[in-house]
């Protein structure tokens, strides 16, 4: 009997000890606090969001970021679980049409007032703004922009090919690949073989051949455009790209090949601007490679838009609400966007940020210029491979076709066109 009493006392005592700090915190002033989830855990992405968290803490906030490493969908699984449990994070990473889809399953924060106060709407590309205000109200804020079809050229491979001109059209690109092969570059293309990577090879091909066809077929799912000649031409170009690749790449991520790319064993890579951050983070120098807009047959740059964003979920707690307001201000701040993009290799969402300064690379300046030109000539389109053009289900069905086509050389381009149209039809 005495033993049980002691045990019970001990238990009660420790429970009180555990509860005490929480109680004390609730009693204090509403210090801004932010619970956030994202997939950014390591490398340049991890470094950037950690830096953002530091800024948040400098402003007197409590930063509680829980990264979920892996693909975006892994992060979404955690988000889904938290929403179902009725405990969404104050703020989470989410982007593209998923913002609209997810905003239907849980209440979000109306950011219109904060956005208006900052005069933010004027400095964001209209297509991009639309994605972040699905019901006409701002509920999410874009953080940084990438183009998924930047062309990375290895300086050493260019030397081997005795070439110094950056290819502008697909024909020039194909020529350079042949020259590299002849000059002793084992594999002219350094891409990886993940699903997203295979999707990027297709979207870069199609958008480079005809941005108009891309908009109609991929973004608007126009049936006639989906079976059009441009789609077939894109599959033909994509086959060429895969044939210049290391056949052993399997399903490896592109980053596996970065060393061989810099060494000139591989020549070119069609990848998002984030590869610059990864290359730099891996210790390679900016003069090991050149970054230019991806091939475009009408010679004007085509911009395959990919933008990371934060969506804000409704919370009752005063400290979380204060945290959301602070976070929104930070994300829109040009200084913060500069800091963030300089770490990750992206370009700022704000069109009024000056990129001539020291911390920016030529690649980033070219990307920003490309975006400006592409918007002016209506050649800025939304990336399919990175979930900006369609919701996950449709995207995955289409990427199935691309990834199978990339790995199975017996599928003819005509067959791939039919399969793509069928895949779209089947998951509508």
């Amino acid at each position: 009997m005495p033993i049980t009493t002691t045990r019970r006392r001990l238990l009660a005592g420790s429970a009180a000890a555990l509860a005490l700090p929480a109680f004390a915190r609730a009693q204090g002033a509403p210090k801004p606090r932010l619970t956030a989830i994202s997939q950014w855990s390591a490398g340049s992405d991890g470094a950037a969001i950690t830096a953002l968290g530091k800024k948040f803490e400098e402003k007197g906030g409590t930063w509680q970021h829980s990264p979920v490493p892996g693909f975006t969908t892994e992060m979404m699984n955690k988000l889904r679980a938290q929403i179902i449990a009725g405990d969404p994070p104050a703020c989470s990473q989410l982007k593209g049409p998923e913002i609209a889809a997810w905003s239907k399953i849980a209440p979000t924060v109306d950011l219109d007032a904060v956005v208006a106060a900052a005069g933010y709407e004027k400095v964001v590309a209209p297509d991009l703004a639309k994605l972040h205000k699905p019901g006409g109200k701002w509920i999410a804020l874009p953080l940084q922009i990438y183009s998924t079809n930047m062309l990375f050229l290895s300086k050493r491979a260019m030397d081997k090919a005795k070439a110094d001109k950056i290819p502008v059209t697909w024909a020039e690109f194909n020529d350079l690949a042949e020259k590299m092969k002849a000059g002793g570059v084992t594999y002219p293309i350094a891409n990886g073989g993940t699903r997203a990577d295979d999707g990027q090879k297709f979207e870069a091909s199609l958008a480079g051949i005809s941005p108009t066809a891309y908009r109609a077929a991929i973004m608007n799912l126009d049936k006639k455009a989906l079976e059009g000649p441009e789609i077939k031409a894109a599959f033909v170009q994509m086959r060429k790209i895969t044939e210049w690749m290391d056949p052993n790449v399997g399903a490896q991520p592109y980053a596996t090949n970065l060393k061989r790319f810099v060494d000139g064993d591989m020549g070119m890579m069609i990848m998002g601007g984030w590869a610059q951050g990864v290359l730099r983070n891996a210790g390679f120098k900016l003069d090991d490679f050149v970054i230019a807009p991806g091939p475009s047959d009408n010679t004007k740059p085509v911009f395959l838009l990919n933008a990371d964003a934060f969506i804000f979920w409704q919370r009752k707690e005063a400290d979380l609400q204060a945290g959301q307001a602070l976070m929104a201000q930070l994300v829109m701040d040009p200084a913060i966007q500069t800091m963030y993009s300089q770490i990750t290799g992206s370009i700022p969402v704000r069109t009024d940020v000056d990129l001539s300064g020291e911390g920016w690379s030529d690649g980033q300046r070219r990307t920003a210029a490309a975006l400006k030109d592409a918007v002016a000539s209506n050649q800025a389109v939304l990336s399919l491979a990175h979930n900006m053009a369609q919701e996950n289900g449709l995207t995955a069905a289409m990427i199935d076709v691309f990834t199978e086509y990339a790995k199975n050389k017996t599928i003819k381009p005509e067959q791939a066109v039919t399969r793509l149209a069928e895949a779209v039809e089947g998951s509508r």
Binding site: N248, G250, N392, R419
Partner: protein, 306 residues
């Protein structure tokens, strides 16, 4: 008088109390897991008839989720792969396991060590098996490269990245993992064969091969069925091994039903269709398990009658 009553009841109650931990140990987990299994199965079946996408919602769409899963290329490839993988894996692991068991049964030295070695892969997680084999089988860094470095330049072994052969890499890894398990069961079976029957066969002049083929192996068939059923249910629910080894690739060449379920539910946010695919998997499993249960039932009845 009262004394007599109390002595009569006390043993019964104290017996109950004494055995209480046993009952708790057996029944509580059993009921809990049964409740879990059944409630979640019913829930999944319900979801498969709803229009759920991002999160579960109520509603009724009839068989629409099923028809769209059955019509999808992913599922068709997965089902064909399951037939191929399931039969090849079960057959080959049976043969390997039986051969190992027979060889070990020859009263050799170091049997315990060898048995542990063959059983060891079973203790390794499928993710580890898949990852290790994905390195070994990768032509750029694994076996092919080793052969090339040793001077055998024409050696070619690219199954992992060859979409027609990739499914066989999963068969190889799965056999490596679980033929030790088949071996252990068969070895137990071989050891339980009545020594007198074997002696009788030898006296009758049967050689070792004939003895095995005619006398010993026929007594093993109940064990064989057990092994087949256990391996089949593994094959049908295989997930982690494939995810680590090929992740369904190259392209979607090595899709298996469990991968399709995961993909639909958690990558594509189509909960309803994912649930439908999961129910289809359950049906495939039942197609294996129900005949087995029926066979066990008939066996037991025959045993009690005898």
């Amino acid at each position: 008088m009262s004394n007599a009553v109390s002595t009569a009841t006390r043993p019964a109650t104290s017996d109950m109390v004494r055995r209480l931990p046993e009952y708790l140990m057996i029944w509580v987990p059993l009921l809990l897991s049964a409740a879990h299994l059944i409630s979640f199965s019913i829930w999944t079946i319900w979801i498969s008839f709803t229009p759920s996408t991002l999160i579960p919602v109520s509603g009724w769409v009839g068989l629409r989720n099923y028809t769209s899963v059955l019509a999808s290329r992913n599922w068709q490839i997965a089902f064909d792969n399951l037939l191929l993988f399931g039969s090849a894996f079960v057959l080959l692991s049976l043969i390997t396991g039986l051969l190992l068991a027979i060889l070990l049964d020859q009263r050799i030295r170091g049997e315990n060590v060898l048995r542990s070695i063959f059983l060891y892969p079973l203790a390794v997680s499928f993710v580890v098996t898949g990852t290790v084999w994905s390195w070994l089988l990768n032509p750029g860094i694994g076996i092919e490269k080793l052969a090339h470095d040793l001077g055998w330049a024409s050696f070619h072994f690219d199954w992992l990245v060859n979409r027609d052969m990739a499914i066989w890499t999963i068969v190889i890894a799965a056999i490596w993992q679980s033929s030790g398990f088949a071996m252990a069961l068969f070895l137990a079976g071989l050891r339980s064969v009545d020594a007198d029957i074997i002696k009788a066969a030898q006296i009758d002049g049967a050689g070792p091969i004939r003895t095995y083929w005619r006398v010993i192996l026929p007594t093993l068939w109940p064990i064989t069925i057990t092994v087949v059923v256990i391996q089949l249910q593994f094959a049908i629910s295989a997930f982690d091994l494939v995810r680590a080894l090929t992740n369904g690739g190259p392209g979607i060449a090595t899709q298996l039903p469990a991968l399709v379920v995961y993909d639909l539910m958690f990558q594509r946010s189509q909960l309803g269709r994912g649930a439908a695919a999961a129910v289809l998997m359950l049906l495939i499993l039942l197609a294996v398990l129900l005949p087995y249960a029926a066979w066990r039932y008939v066996q037991r009845r025959q045993a009690t009658h005898a």
